[in-house]
């Protein structure tokens, strides 16, 4: 029986290896300088609009969301009564299980009529998906800060707010950074909400969140069935970039907190 459990474990890992192998092998021939510099309309074509679009969208979302998320986690962990904290944990956990397409649909119904099909609407959708990740992970980290640290600070006459900011948050700083990085890496890969809000474009867009933008997942999605080998190759290259970014961010984070329970 031990053997069957081992086989199952191997079976769980095989897809990862097959996938990584495939993406690398298919993508490498298409990695050239033009890929990063040119747009799909340039000759030779590239996907710089998608690369920098993804970075802009995700960065804007994380900048908007992480202060709210971290402060909310501080409230829940440091101020809220255990009862309120426990219920909000449940609610946020449940929110983590909401399919991203549903959040995309919400953004399509509420934000797109206001802002139009635009990068801004995409930022809202991605931000909503990131928020519970930031709150929940930060909360887990703050909980790990021992009460004795807080008590020591308070006993020295340091006001509560200074204790929270300069003692609790400083102790947990790398953990809070982890929360933000995890949310960022999740945001990078979101596709379905972007399909409903940003839609994609061939043009390069620098920081104009009122018009449409492109993103790596959108490029992968729309190029995935291309008959033209260069276009399909660029889909693989985009997939490699996205995968390397997501895996690198996760490895950086998890290498430091291997035993962390937070997914």
């Amino acid at each position: 029986m031990r053997l069957s459990a081992l086989i199952a474990t191997i079976a769980a890992i095989i897809p990862l290896i097959a996938l990584i192998y495939f993406v690398i092998v298919r993508a490498i021939p298409w990695l050239d300088a033009e890929l990063f510099v040119n747009n799909p309309l340039d000759k030779p074509s590239g996907i710089s609009n998608a690369i920098f679009g993804s970075l802009q969208l995700t960065t804007a979302a994380i900048l908007a969301v992480s202060p709210i998320g971290v402060l909310a986690a501080i409230y829940l962990n440091e101020y809220a009564s255990p009862r309120v904290a426990s219920w909000s944990e449940l609610v946020i956990d449940v929110m983590l299980g909401v399919p991203s397409i549903v959040v995309g649909m919400f953004a399509f119904m509420v934000v797109v009529p206001q802002l139009g099909v635009s990068a801004g609407a995409g930022v809202v959708a991605i931000g909503i998906l990131m928020l519970p990740i930031v709150v929940r992970t930060t909360q887990e980290v703050l909980r790990l800060v021992p009460s004795s640290v807080r008590e020591a600070s308070l006993a020295l006459g340091v006001p509560v707010w200074k204790t929270v900011i300069f003692v609790v948050c400083r102790t947990a700083f790398s953990g809070i950074l982890t929360a933000v990085i995890l949310a960022y890496s999740r945001g990078l890969g979101e596709t379905a909400p972007l399909l409903l809000t940003v839609r994609g474009t061939f043009a390069q867009n620098w920081l104009d969140f009122g018009t449409t933008m492109n993103a790596l997942p959108l490029t992968i999605y729309s190029y995935s069935g291309a008959a033209d080998s260069r276009t399909l190759g660029q889909a693989w290259a985009a997939a490699l970039l996205l995968m390397v970014l997501a895996l690198a961010l996760n490895i950086v984070v998890r290498a430091r907190t291997v035993n962390s329970r937070v997914a």
């Binding site: 890992i13 101020y79 709150v135 009460s147 509560v160 995935s224 693989w236 997914a263």
Partner: protein, 307 residues
């Protein structure tokens, strides 16, 4: 740890201000949730009141069938593998190996679903068609039309392949959740059983799994919820047909794929139907997610009572 500062001397003390700021952030988070909830619930009313609920299900049988079918196939693929892998990681693997393997399995969860989709379209889907799908069709297809396939001319996309892909994608979730739950079973229970002469495997079968049963069921429900909502990878391999397919090995669609592909250009009638479908998806996954959390709390209580 809770600070009580209700007797702070001044209304504008930094303590109160900071507390108010954090409270505002928490309220903002809660408000966003509440708005999503209300908007979706209200948005579904036009479609759900226009016809009876049964008619609504009937006219949208295709995507509803596809959603349920892909999610169930995913659970059949990921459930046994995920739970067995979790048992191996907790009960058998040497500690260092367990850490490394857990790390690798969790990395699968970090890979964006669109990358899985690209891989499936260009490689996995074809392999599945020629192996598992071909085997099932040639073995059972003769007796069960629902599992039949024209082996000379198999469909380019199929519900089965989409479900299998989602199964691979949710394995890490099943492993992670089951591992937590199995690990929470108290050592003393295992020791007691081993003490009366049971083997390692008997202990797992008769002590660990029964104790963890509720929790593992909850884990599978959460995984099911994740599978129901998986969108982009499924869109890329399921084919996009709107009818209930005559066989699992033919193209179909799911609620999520319908929304992703048709919502932006939909006319108002179709739009309200899609929104209603999305709301059903929303509430079903909320329910499954909630069930999982409550099951986890239940297991925690059982194991705590033994400790």
């Amino acid at each position: 740890m809770t600070f009580n500062i209700t007797r702070s001397p001044s209304l504008l003390s930094p303590d109160r201000t900071f507390r108010a700021i954090t409270l505002m952030a928490a309220v903002t988070t809660a408000t966003i949730l509440a708005i999503i909830f209300v908007v979706l619930a209200l948005g579904s009313i036009p479609a759900l009141t226009a016809t009876s609920f049964l008619d609504f299900i009937g006219t949208n049988a295709g995507p509803i069938f596809g959603t349920v079918a892909t999610a169930l196939i995913a659970i059949v693929v990921a459930g046994p593998i995920g739970i067995l892998a979790a048992i191996y990681l907790v009960e058998f693997a040497p500690k260092r190996l367990a850490v490394v393997l857990t790390f690798i399995v969790e990395l699968i969860a970090a890979i964006p679903s669109v990358v899985f989709g690209l891989w499936a379209v260009n490689d996995l889907s074809i392999r599945l068609r020629d192996s598992v799908e071909w085997w099932i069709a040639s073995t059972f297809g003769k007796f069960i039309p629902f599992l039949s396939e024209d082996s000379n001319n198999p469909a380019a996309d199929s519900v089965f392949r989409a479900g299998f892909l989602v199964g691979i994608m949710i394995i890490p979730l099943v492993v992670a959740l089951s591992r937590e739950i199995i690990r929470a079973v108290p050592i003393s229970l295992r020791e007691g059983y081993i003490g009366i002469g049971a083997t390692r495997w008997e202990t797992i079968r008769h002590v660990v799994l029964p104790t963890a049963r509720i929790g593992i069921t909850g884990a599978l429900m959460l995984a099911l919820g994740r599978a129901l909502g998986e969108t982009i990878a499924v869109t890329m391999v399921i084919g996009g047909s709107n009818d209930v397919p005559g066989s699992l090995f033919q193209p179909g669609s799911t609620i999520a794929t319908r929304i992703a592909t048709t919502l932006p250009e939909a006319n108002p009638d179709v739009k309200s139907v899609l929104i209603a479908l999305g709301v059903i998806l929303f509430f079903v996954s909320l329910g499954l997610s909630l069930a999982m959390r409550l099951a986890a709390r239940q297991t925690a209580k059982i194991t705590a009572s033994v400790k």
